[in-house]
Symmetry: C2
Subunit: 877 residues, 2 copies
């Protein structure tokens, strides 16, 4: 059978988007269910592809089919193309399978020429309308089809207005317009060397070709490249009988949503303009009325329209965004599609539609974009206020939410101003573990350096505070406590506002809106929990974080970073004493002092988590990260450790590394200093035994060994851990079940997961480091580079935000498959930042992880994403 | 069929090493070919494994078989175990499939007791001999079988010597020995609570069990773990009729090689001791005579022995290392095995044996350990002199060869003393690119920090200079120009000697031996070239290196590092100007000045290489590596660049990275600064066009893009390169064929090689970086850690020296397979340090690479290793 290149509206359906485009498929669907759609046909995307295959030539077979369909259209409409008494006029619009700006959009009134315009004037009894339509048609056709610069037409038009002293377009008379038309024709002839095409059929073929051509223009290509839309998708072309909303006061045009897209309220929402064509609504020259007022002017049409809204919502079972026209009292539908909506509206509409029996709960859960959840979780700026605020800089949207506060530049300023009851925003070059107290005191954090997984970003997300990083315009003088942007300098105490959801920085204060997590949002989350199969844990290092995460629905801790526990003023000196120890003996002295701290921390966490699993990671970062920096700190350390400041400096120098990320850290510390792992293991087991007795519950500690790269390496540390556990059991005369496992974060671990699994009862994918090493990207250094790569379309996403499924994901898949071969019931999770990213969560579900773990504030996002992944998988079966 | 656990010597052969052990298999082989071997039998390794499977119990079936074989032995020898007139005595020796120290070695004279000793005395007419044998037997059996501490026996023995005033053991009379025997028995009884076993059969079973047990002792386990010998190999036990070399002056014992193992000379080489047992030769109490003197004392036995040497060499077609005994004029062979030999001997023996028709050339090539080639390539210390020298420290053997020279601490000292005609050794904390001139002036390099792939190591290997790195005992004060080791301080101009082949550092001067690369060595290399299928290229950055490598047999350049070309005094300021440029315009100004330098370098290299392929890598290292460090350098840069010193410092600060290895380097530079890649490409193509015209040859440049991690990233830079090439072609009106490819050194590139190959005509595995990122090991930081890991048996080898086939190798295999899927004729090579490591070269052959590339001095090693890999593969078919 010959390929069919053109479909009448009564031959298609909404499921044919791939060949009819979104607009065409929905016009066909509305036609199918009997709604009043001006009849027409769609030239398929395949015809467009053929055009390009044939070297930008329209296939004669396609031309032939268009002619056949045009004849059919004439028959249906009882009008003829070019008929000097009752001419058929059509609109020509592009419509790709994916909504795509950049292409030729619309040509209206095609079919007009010197003869048919007369007929139109007579039929509408409106000369001005007819000649204005003709004038617009020539201008539009000249611009987009004949590619004649707009300004040639504008000159003529504005010249005429000046000549006759017209202030507005509407002040021009029919005769003025006739004169303009004559001059337009001259413009065209001068530009293309031939007359403006008067045969409607020629006009049509040229217009269809122009749509095809616009698929290949630079703007469209760029858009596709940026959005990763395949070039061979092609665009369809819709040819539709014109209806006129500008035939006088019994006509009009409008756009509307079946429900309020901002609030979700179940009430038609939209705008309507009497005596106007679609483009007038968009152009904004006249102010449209709210849709409700349509009822007064067009009661019948309005009734018909509200009915159609109901029909469409029932049919599509979703909020619709529609265009329509009323011609002399009669309603015509020109477009319908799923309406874009705010986070709040999405939630309300989904829940309402379940109540109304329109959709089931699974569909409702699928309707909520996980990104919406983050919006709903955090305080945000009042939208109107934010629009009015003075934006001074833009950085990476590193942790969502918004904050206004007085600028502070260091921990001391932050803490003391916070204590004085002020709201502050911490502004720094970058943050380090020593800034923690300052970050906790701040409403928001702003840094000049660092990427999406810099210290500031990671810690801020953990705290649920908004954060903007990598804001390169900032010139920060930390000593002087000033920050200069674009020549303007702000000092300590000046108000600043940062939006961690969009990366914007504003001067001054902006009003806030607080989040509400119950109600409809709570319902959606509850349904999500029913449908998901993957558990959601949290990354938490303190009882407070753990508690917060449980409130957000966390079912356990997937990563407890023990190093974060040492930053307390009372502990850091002892921890440093451990670091500068020059022998095992010296080290054990310090470790003995750290043990009770660590144990009580674990007890607090176990109390907060109850019987939920808690995965504790042994010490991970390179030790030199914790070294004293100031002379004062060194002297304090000198007192406590008994080393001279000179000795401390020497010891610090031996710890220096060129590439700390690839240096002496992770389980490598435990191989060389097993006594550290012993202390931490003892603290974990003691705490678990104590709290399980205290609360009468069963605790099964998970002890996680970071950074393993080979079975033997892991076996070495596992032995240290297991021996210590057994020693503690023996000393206490009590036991409990426990698991020992490892992080998979070094590529070699993923590559040899079959061997590694012999020593590990669980794997937790540390996808931050795995991404660093798989790409060879230091996350501290490549934030800028990654931005450039995204700009240049080398990367689609920041791989530290959204998991790189092709590369890093391949390693994960290998690790899962090979790990299960060795140990079929191995427990599998992820604790990298990706555990809170919806696309990455879906991937984790697909490869069969048992849980994801993310910062407390991302737990609801992960819960929703996990549910969506499960529902999608079920539906794909 | 029942498993057979015991084989008589006439039932086995040399091919049964796995179950008979090395010693047993060769005893069987000698028996088979009719050589005079005292008869006996071997208990198999499988019996040993059964012993462990059964919980350290000897299987009754094994005991039964031993008894049957013992009876057979008695029958063959016409003697009986425990016979009071003519007793059979046996030796019991362990013998694993792989030579392995740490196990019980030998028990002689088993079968002696109070009755048989009398018979032995009568038969030999030598009381002292008989009782000394008995004494030794009890002592040895007590020690190794009954596990009674040696010192118990020593006390008795030394007590007796003191009592009778004997200075030497031989001063004790038969009666003294009888007394000692009586006391020994008391020692045994006190220790084990029962009498010394008098039944020969009990003695035998206990001895066999003791050998099995010794397989599981700590020393043996440790040795196996260190040498990666499987635990389930097991050891065999050889039971052999005793012959006595200590029956007086018609008896004797010796060890000999069929040829000289030091020089390879075809002349029997060994030592002989009259009236002695094997252990006396080893114990070194008496000085043995050269084997040639045996001819005088035992002309018949000597004749028989020389004949046996010929037979054995013909039979085994290799140099043999033998043990033998002459009993009353009759020769008995006790052991034969392939003899260990020096590098020189290995080459001479292999070539001679080909000339003699004993082996073919392929076998000769297989006989040379590739490590030998490195010894033969470099000057080395006179062995005897080195033994006498005072060793002061030990580091990593980073680049082979040896050197003596006066200590210098910096470039200036090195250059000026070298110019003054002195030999110098450069001693530094670590080296950087700025030390190059100093390294070139030095005979050898010694650093306190750094590993096998540190800057010093890599550059020294490139230069063929000896180098010891990571010598942590050194306390270097570069300002004061002193180095202190173990409390002793050496200054500028003091003599020092470093051996880069074993890592030793000596004070003072040691005499040298110069290498000879022609003669037999040249023959072996020529044969190797005939047999290998993989090409061998070199890593070379200068015409001089390229020339040198061609002399060593390099067939092309696999890696030309363009950054090394900028260290010249005339160039580095301009290069720095390029680095601190704040805009593309500023950068292009500097690049225009660099172009002629770079082009003339390439021309020099193309002239040196002729039509051999030359692979040039675009700029790779992070730019901040090249920044000026001193104020003086900054001022110079300020003049040339027009920036102030402050601006230079600011620009330098923006280039700082936390983990430069994972930062802005490799093709990332070319993505952000395409103008650098353009300049380099232009220089390459100009040079190739010029030299091909000048010499009338065909040059096919290979342009290598480093560090790619994704297809799009590579495509971006490839486009820059190809556009530039085409522009140059157009400007010049000339063309030549060229290839554009990439290094595979980021794990993600290996994982997505099918995609990457779409943009790459060749892959070159950069296994240094691939190893860094696959393991997460910074080679600058983990040298010490890797040492620890090797000590703890976590790593078998330094993965920067010998390719990690399990992890990194897996990625390489994936890349080869997937790369070929996309581009079947893709050119595949390796340019990491592993390209010169024999085991790694074999792996490269196995996975199907087209070539390996290594530093010039390793080219011969690689040629040999490649040949061996090809021969092995052919023979495995």
């Amino acid at each position: 059978m010959e390929k069919k290149y053109v479909y009448s509206f009564n031959e298609g359906s909404k499921d044919m988007k791939a060949i009819l485009g979104g607009k065409g498929a929905n016009l066909a669907e509305m036609t199918k269910i009997g709604l009043p759609v001006p009849f027409g046909f769609t030239v398929t995307t395949e015809a467009c592809n053929k055009y390009y295959e044939d070297g930008e030539k329209i296939d004669p077979a396609v031309v032939e089919e268009i002619k056949v369909k045009m004849a059919e259209l004439e028959k249906v409409m009882g009008k003829k193309f070019g008929d000097p008494t009752d001419p058929l006029l059509v609109s020509v619009r592009s419509g790709a399978p994916i909504s795509m700006p950049g292409m030729m959009d619309t040509i209206l009134n095609l079919g007009l020429n010197d003869e048919t315009v007369v007929a139109l004037a007579k039929l509408t009894n409106n000369d001005r309308f007819a000649y204005d339509s003709y004038r617009r048609f020539i201008q539009m056709f000249g611009d987009v089809v004949l590619q004649i610069s707009k300004k040639n037409f504008d000159e003529v038009f504005e010249g005429k207005k000046a000549e006759v002293g017209a202030e507005f377009d509407v002040d021009l008379t029919a005769d003025d317009l006739k004169d303009i038309i004559a001059k337009y024709k001259v413009v065209v002839k001068n530009a293309i060397g031939r007359e403006f095409p008067t045969e409607p059929e020629d006009q049509l073929m040229e217009a269809v070709t122009a749509v095809f051509r616009s698929w290949g223009n630079d703007r469209a290509i760029l858009y596709r490249r940026l959005n990763d839309i395949p070039n061979d998708l092609g665009t369809a072309v819709n040819v539709q009988t014109m209806v006129f909303g500008n035939k006088g006061d019994t006509s009009g045009t409008g756009v509307a949503f079946t429900r309020n897209p901002a609030t979700g309220e179940n009430k038609i929402y939209g705008e309507f303009l009497v005596n106007a064509q679609g483009e007038d609504v968009v152009a904004g020259i006249r102010t449209p009325s709210p849709i409700s007022e349509m009822e007064k002017s067009f009661p019948d049409a309005y009734k018909a329209f509200t009915h159609i809204c109901e029909v469409l919502e029932k049919h599509y079972t979703d909020l619709q965004d529609m265009e329509f026209t009323v011609e002399e009292g009669k309603l015509f539908m020109l477009q319908t599609r799923a309406g874009k909506r705010t986070a709040q509206a999405a939630v309300k509409v989904a829940v309402d539609m379940v109540d109304e029996g329109l959709i089931d709960r699974k569909t409702a859960v699928l309707r909520i974009e996980p990104a919406f959840v983050e919006h709903l979780m955090h305080p945000r700026f009042d939208e109107e206020e934010e629009k009015k605020a003075v934006k001074i800089a833009h950085g990476l949207a590193a942790s969502p939410g918004a904050a206004s506060g007085k600028i502070v530049f260091n921990v001391d300023q932050a803490v003391s101003m916070k204590e004085a009851g002020e709201k502050v925003v911490l502004v720094r070059m970058e943050t380090s573990p020593e800034d923690l107290a300052g970050m906790m005191s701040a409403e928001g954090i702003l840094t000049a350096r660092g990427g999406a997984t810099s210290h500031a970003a990671v810690v801020a997300r953990g705290m649920g505070k908004c954060c903007v990083t990598g804001c390169r315009e900032l010139i920060i003088d930390e000593d002087a406590s000033t920050v200069t942007v674009d020549g303007k300098t702000y000092g300590l105490g000046d108000w600043i506002s940062v939006n961690g959801s969009n990366g914007n920085v504003y001067e001054g204060k902006i009003d806030m809106v607080q989040p509400d997590l119950s109600g409809d949002f709570g319902k959606i989350m509850q349904w999500a929990d029913e449908f998901r199969t993957m558990k959601v844990r949290t990354n938490a290092d303190t009882p407070r974080d753990a508690q917060q995460a449980v409130e957000f629905g966390a079912e356990g801790i997937g990563l407890c970073r023990t190093e974060h526990m040492f930053f307390d003023d009372a502990r850091i000196p002892v921890f440093r004493q451990m670091i500068v120890a020059r022998s095992e003996e010296e080290r054990r002295v310090a470790l003995a002092k750290l043990l009770p701290f660590q144990q009580s921390d674990f007890e607090g966490i176990y109390r907060a988590m109850g019987e939920r699993p808690v995965n504790v990671r042994l010490l991970d970062p390179p030790l030199h990260e914790f070294l004293p920096k100031t002379e004062e700190e060194m002297e304090e350390l000198s007192k406590i450790s008994g080393l001279t400041v000179k000795e401390i400096k020497e010891q610090a120098a031996t710890l220096h590394e060129f590439n700390p990320m690839l240096g002496h850290r992770g389980l490598r510390l435990a191989v060389t200093y097993p006594e550290i792992a012993e202390m931490q293991t003892e603290a974990i087991i003691n705490a678990a035994l104590n709290v399980s007795k205290e609360l009468g519950i069963e605790i099964e500690p998970e002890i996680m060994i970071p950074l393993s790269g080979s079975e033997k390496e892991l076996a070495n540390v596992r032995e240290t851990v297991v021996k210590t556990v057994e020693r503690v059991f023996e000393e206490k005369g009590e036991r409990l079940p426990y698991l020992v496992g490892t992080m998979i974060e070094v590529p070699r671990a993923a590559l040899t997961a079959d061997e590694i699994a012999r020593q590990a009862e669980f794997f937790s994918f540390g996808t931050n480091d795995l991404t660093q090493m798989t790409f060879g990207f230091s996350r501290d250094d490549t934030a800028r580079l990654i931005e450039t790569y995204i700009d240049k379309n080398i990367l689609e996403n920041d791989p530290f935000k959204t998991l790189d499924q092709v590369g890093v994901g391949k390693l994960m898949k290998m690790a899962v498959e090979n790990g299960k071969k060795t140990r079929p019931n191995i427990r599998l999770g992820i604790c990298g930042e990706h555990g809170g990213d919806p696309k990455s969560v879906e991937f984790c579900h697909q490869i069969g992880l048992n849980y994801v773990s993310c910062s407390p504030f991302r737990v609801p996002v992960a819960r929703l994403a996990a549910a969506q992944a499960a529902i999608k998988e079920e539906r794909a079966k």
